[in-house]
Amino acid sequence: MAVRELTYVKAYNEALHQVMHEDESVFVVGEDVAGYGGVFRMYDGLLEEYGARRMIDTPISEMAIVGLGVGAASRGLRPVVDIMFMDFLAVCLDQVVNQAAKMKFMFGGEVRVPMVVTVASGAGLSAGAQHSQSLEAWLAHTPGLKVAMPSSAHDAKGLMVSAVRDDNPVIMMLNKKLLGAKGDVPEEIYAVPFGEAATLREGSDVTVVALGRMAVEAAAAADQLTGEGISVEVIDPRTVQPLDTDTIVASARRTNRVVVVHEAVTFGGLGAEIAAQIQDVAFDHLDAPVMRVGAPFAPVPFSPALENVYVPDRGRIADACRRILARG
């Protein structure tokens, strides 16, 4: 299989080119996705290739955009709904959590809602408090939704292919700071299955479970710590709903020490869910409490001077590993 380097955003874009070619029921709807190709260039070339029937520009009406997706999906189409910044989910959450997520269950099972909602998440670009959030904790807490958080170009493509083929509403979180990150991507279409974590580094001293872009930082921290003789296993769940608890727990049982990392604020973040599950099933294997590394309890600050310390990075992750190992 031919593999070459692509950026994360181009890999996502290639997934769309290929699934739209493969399945005529796939279409894209959102603000400036067609004529402009998306504000992050996620949809470049799709209008030219698939035309205005399958690439729909809309007014600024997120509730109606997602609702259009819900209605079209319930009729058997496969909408890819673009909501630009994840923070904007707050203006259309009803259609996501009360309609799309619950429809199948509360209708009695007949309906399917194969919709993908793509959002750009994450901090680090001085975009401010309303354009930088990581809200996966809200969505993973909502039965009926699936949530993907690719950390590489390879997964951006593979998870998107799975998301579009999935018969459930899927939130596809693309990390803004990773859009230009390059990685090896196979040319042909392939799917990265949901609920299967990736082990980015194998190690024996401590396990770091890191979400989205934090997986990249964790891998860097692991490489750095190798030099200090610390062997770190890095696990990227890739999807947080479903969550691959088995892989995480198996690793915890081997290393006996776990650090969980995400961009979202620590309090109430998914790090808590992962920590709670680990201590529950691997209680007797833990030599130290599961440690959480996340953002402090504050909105995302604008000034780089503050944002740089707000968002966790390889340095803070490495420190956490050293601290958890320092503990008896």
Partner: protein, 339 residues
């Protein structure tokens, strides 16, 4: 029909049944009677404490669902509201699974998972009632989009109240449908109240139809107590949609006889007995029966038979529903996801 913006009022001077044969009249009549009987029985069962949860009854508004649904086929899609039984019944939903759902039984439309506010039947294009005011509108726009995308000739119709016309989802859905020129009909059932708040306290306009102009959308007002008038108005809107001319807003002036929720008025009076009685004098079913009889299009016996058959159907369905088993708790987490 009015041009984009303008609205043609036909309330009061409703067309007679001229041009409508016995078959069409009996069809409208049957749809209305089925709603009236179903809702009256549901109300009785609730008063008797036999039904769990909330119950928003449609009694009084039958002409709207009947007239509107008479213009659709099973391939056409509708989205409904918290007050959705009438829409489901008029679209062709069966009494047995409807009552079974109200009782929370396995044979219900939602197998007991949804309840009154989530009754749906994909086989007849009923995309569901909805517990969130206004949420059905964007979904209907999506269903219309699917027909446009597939060019399958189908359309979507969405029902909402006077109160719902104040929520953002209505605004966004109407504008989206207009801009994308989608085959959808917005049917506003203006019964004068949003819960316990009279229309003049939740908006300054008399006619919700006037809001269509904000989207460059044509609109029409009809007598929501006259099934024939509703059918004629909706037919014009449906024809436009099928012809690819885009969405239309049809406002039907109507009234609910029962309380916002349940049957009897609770606590504070928010409307007068006189007002209720005045509307009941123009009862949609009586109006149709009287007119048809006067014009000699349908014999009284035919109408009587409809009532009889419907009551029998309802009695059978209630017995069926009460005999239906409760859902098995071991199946609780089924159907959260499709696999």
């Amino acid at each position: 029909m009015a041009e984009a913006g303008g609205t043609a009022t036909v309330v009061g001077d409703a067309p007679t049944v001229e041009g409508f044969g016995a078959e069409e009249l009996l069809d409208l009549h049957r749809r209305m009677v089925r709603i009236r009987v179903f809702e009256t029985e549901a109300g009785r069962l609730m008063e008797a404490g036999l039904l769990p949860g909330f119950l928003h009854l449609y009694v009084g508004q039958e002409a709207v669902a009947a007239g509107a649904m008479a213009t659709l086929t099973d391939a056409d899609q509708i989205t409904s509201t918290h007050r959705g039984h009438g829409h489901a019944v008029a679209k062709g939903a069966a009494f047995r699974p409807m009552f079974a759902e109200l009782f929370g039984r396995v044979d219900g439309y939602c197998h007991g998972r949804g309840g009154s506010m989530h009754i749906n039947d994909l086989s007849i294009g009923m995309l569901g009632a909805n517990g969130i005011v206004g949420a059905g509108l964007p979904i209907a726009v999506g269903a219309a989009f699917a027909s446009w995308y597939r060019d399958d000739g189908g359309i979507a119709m969405t029902f909402f109240g006077d109160g719902a016309s104040n929520i953002g989802a209505f605004h966004e859905a109407a504008n989206m449908a207009a801009v994308l020129k989608l085959p959808v009909v917005f049917v506003c059932e203006n019964n004068g109240y949003a819960e316990f708040t009279a229309q003049d306290r939740h908006m300054l306009l008399t006619d919700v139809a006037d809001r269509a102009a904000a989207y460059g959308m044509p609109s029409e007002i009809c007598d929501g107590m006259d099934a024939v008038a509703v059918r004629l108005a909706c037919q014009r809107a449906v024809d436009r949609a099928r012809a690819g001319e885009g969405p239309t807003l049809v406002e039907a002036k109507t009234y609910r006889y029962y309380d916002h929720q349940g049957v009897k008025g609770l606590r504070r009076p928010y409307r007068t007995e006189e007002e209720v009685e005045a509307w009941k004098k123009r009862d949609a079913i009586e109006l149709l029966e009287a007119r048809a009889a006067a014009d000699g299009v349908v014999e009284a016996a035919a109408f009587a038979q409809v009532w009889e058959e419907t009551r029998a159907d309802s009695d059978d369905a209630i017995a069926f529903a009460q005999a239906s088993p409760l859902p098995d708790p071991s199946t609780l987490t089924r159907n959260v996801y499709s696999d």
